[in-house]
């Protein structure tokens, strides 16, 4: 039996979105048939920013629709890509003539459905794609593979591209900014307890007491290694060190740090993680110029967290700091 609070599985995502509108009706609106979320008041005369993916990661992406961030978000079923039809409809609704940038996390289904939607609109719409593949745990040497997964860096991409679009940047510039954020970002996650399947109530993997799963993604899959649990200081060190190398950070650089809860991680734990992240980076002479701490890209009720570092430039800081007004992010 499931302990997941819902009515039927079939209506879960749509009913949850009705709740989103209940809570944030001033910011967002939900369209059905096909299902997607738009801004309450569509904005014209700017590049449209559209994203989406499987559900179960809330507030991603639907919580990031609003002024200064997404124009539309397209939710699939839990851990399943939205359909190309949904994506196409969302682009048609959001694009007011300045073109659309799609922010897509690198999963086969998402890439396929977003690309096909764009392809089908190619004669009427200018659609560009930013592929987010920040997860170091899935770094492989082979060229033919699916490449790295997309995880929490997508929040930075959506925030920064959203601000640029809002500021009137043209299509190519918004896309290039997004690609720049991706190129400057890396993420690693760790899990202390797997998430439970909403239908069966079973955990997606088991850990013995004293074990944690290193290098997890956001779909309940196992990571790259099962390790012994350690204190926060040591664990954050082991997450941050490969990120620093991968992004190529050097003394004097400054970063955005996203300390992301995977679902059931408590605010106290994320606070400690944020503190340790700063401490580790301080020790390497790298400045944490901005940080975002909270459950922004979740994996149902997984216990764990991910850390994302994005190397900043003055431009990126400017767009990060620009006002945003969405259900999950406001400043």
């Amino acid at each position: 039996m499931s302990r997941f609070f819902m009515n039927e599985r079939e209506t879960l995502v749509e009913q949850a979105l009705e709740g989103l509108v209940e809570a944030h009706g001033g910011l967002v609106d939900v369209r059905t048939d096909p299902l997607f979320v738009t801004r309450r008041v569509p904005t014209t005369g700017k590049v449209a920013l559209v994203s989406g993916g499987g559900s179960g990661h809330e507030p991603l992406h639907t919580g990031f629709v609003g002024q200064g961030m997404l124009d539309a978000a397209v939710p699939g079923d839990v851990f399943a890509s939205p359909t190309a039809l949904q994506v196409r409809a969302a682009i048609q609704a959001a694009d007011t003539g300045e073109g659309t940038v799609m922010v897509v996390k690198n999963y086969t289904g998402d890439v396929l459905n977003f690309s096909i939607a764009a392809e089908l609109l190619s004669e009427t719409h200018r659609v560009e794609q930013v592929l987010v593949d920040d997860d170091l745990a899935t770094q492989k040497e082979d060229e033919g593979g699916p490449g790295r997964r997309g995880t929490a860096a997508v929040v930075a991409v959506e925030k920064i591209c959203g601000a640029a679009a809002e500021a009137g940047a043209p299509l190519d510039e918004v896309r290039e900014l997004g690609r720049q954020v991706v190129a400057r970002s890396a993420t690693l996650g760790v899990s202390f307890e797997a998430c439970t399947n909403p239908m069966t109530g079973r955990r997606s993997f088991d850990l013995e007491p004293g074990e944690m799963e290193f290098g997890v993604g956001i779909h309940g899959e196992r990571g790259i290694e099962t390790r012994s649990t350690t204190g926060a200081a040591e664990l954050v060190e082991s997450l941050v060190t490969p990120l620093v190398e991968s992004v190529g950070l050097r003394r004097g650089d400054s970063v955005l740090a996203i300390v992301n809860g995977l679902g059931a991680t408590h605010g106290l734990e994320l606070g400690v993680a944020a503190r340790e992240t700063r401490r580790v980076l301080d020790g390497r002479g790298i400045g944490v110029a901005r940080s975002l701490v909270g459950p922004y890209v979740t994996s149902l009720d997984m216990k764990g967290l991910s850390i994302t570092l994005t190397a900043l430039t003055d431009d990126l800081v400017k767009f990060w700091d620009a006002p945003v007004r969405t259900p999950a992010l406001v400043w």
């Binding site: 079923d77 399943a80 359909t83 196409r88 289904g109 459905n113 096909i116 939607a117 089908l120």
Partner: protein
């Protein structure tokens, strides 16, 4: 047969009858496709494609079938609303067909439409002939349509059906390079690719329509 244009051209009504026949065939024999996907994938292909075609059949019931483009577009939408890998790829294929001329299609137009459609699937699926996917049936069928010397659409599609069937058969013995079957390597070598088989059925269904 029905159709107001030249009998050699594919009319909307004929296209609609063709697609309805395809839907019937797939819905009747879905288990056969599922069984192939069970052996070489995750066993949902029959369900994916038949639920798409059930939606497609409903869509077709609601349109006149003015020209083939309208018919293919309707079926495309049904596939695009589907999950799995095959749903969006078939949705794209039919969607590209759906951007063909808004009038009966002569054979060169038919070939050109399928050329664009199959090209899009190859590009988006990153699949070539020999990768053991639907493209192994789509590509030779498309070649047959574009290279045919007949001016009668039924004859051209019959050529395409033979080519698609041969292509589908050739997937038995292939090691998959795309889709879930690629995870199985040699273990699924003997199994026909269900996507390719479905494409063969598609071309074959023009005959009775």
């Amino acid at each position: 047969m029905t159709g107001d244009g030249n009998a050699a051209d594919l009319t909307g009504a004929e296209a609609k009858a063709w697609l309805l026949a395809f839907a019937e065939r797939v819905i009747a024999d879905a288990d056969e496709l599922t069984e192939l996907d069970r052996k070489a994938g995750d066993g949902d292909f029959g369900w994916n494609i038949s639920s798409a075609l059930k939606r497609g059949r409903e869509g077709l019931a609601g349109i006149e079938g003015e020209h083939p483009a309208q018919v293919f577009q309707t079926v495309s939408d049904a596939f695009l609303a589907s999950g799995g890998t095959s749903g969006p790829l078939f949705g794209l294929w039919f969607g590209r067909l759906g951007s063909g001329p808004f009038a009966p299609w002569d054979v060169p137009e038919l070939g050109a439409a399928f050329g664009r459609a199959t090209g899009a699937v190859r590009r988006l699926g990153k699949a070539e002939v020999g990768h053991k996917t639907m493209v192994d049936a789509m590509a030779p069928a498309t070649d047959a349509l574009t290279e045919t010397s007949t001016g009668v659409w039924r004859d051209a599609v019959a050529d395409a059906a033979r080519a698609a069937r041969a292509g589908a058969d050739s997937t038995g013995g292939m090691i998959a390079h795309r889709g879930r079957a690629s995870y199985l390597g040699e273990r699924a070598q003997d199994v026909l690719d269900p996507g390719a088989v479905a494409v063969a059925w598609f071309f074959e269904c023009a005959e009775g329509a």
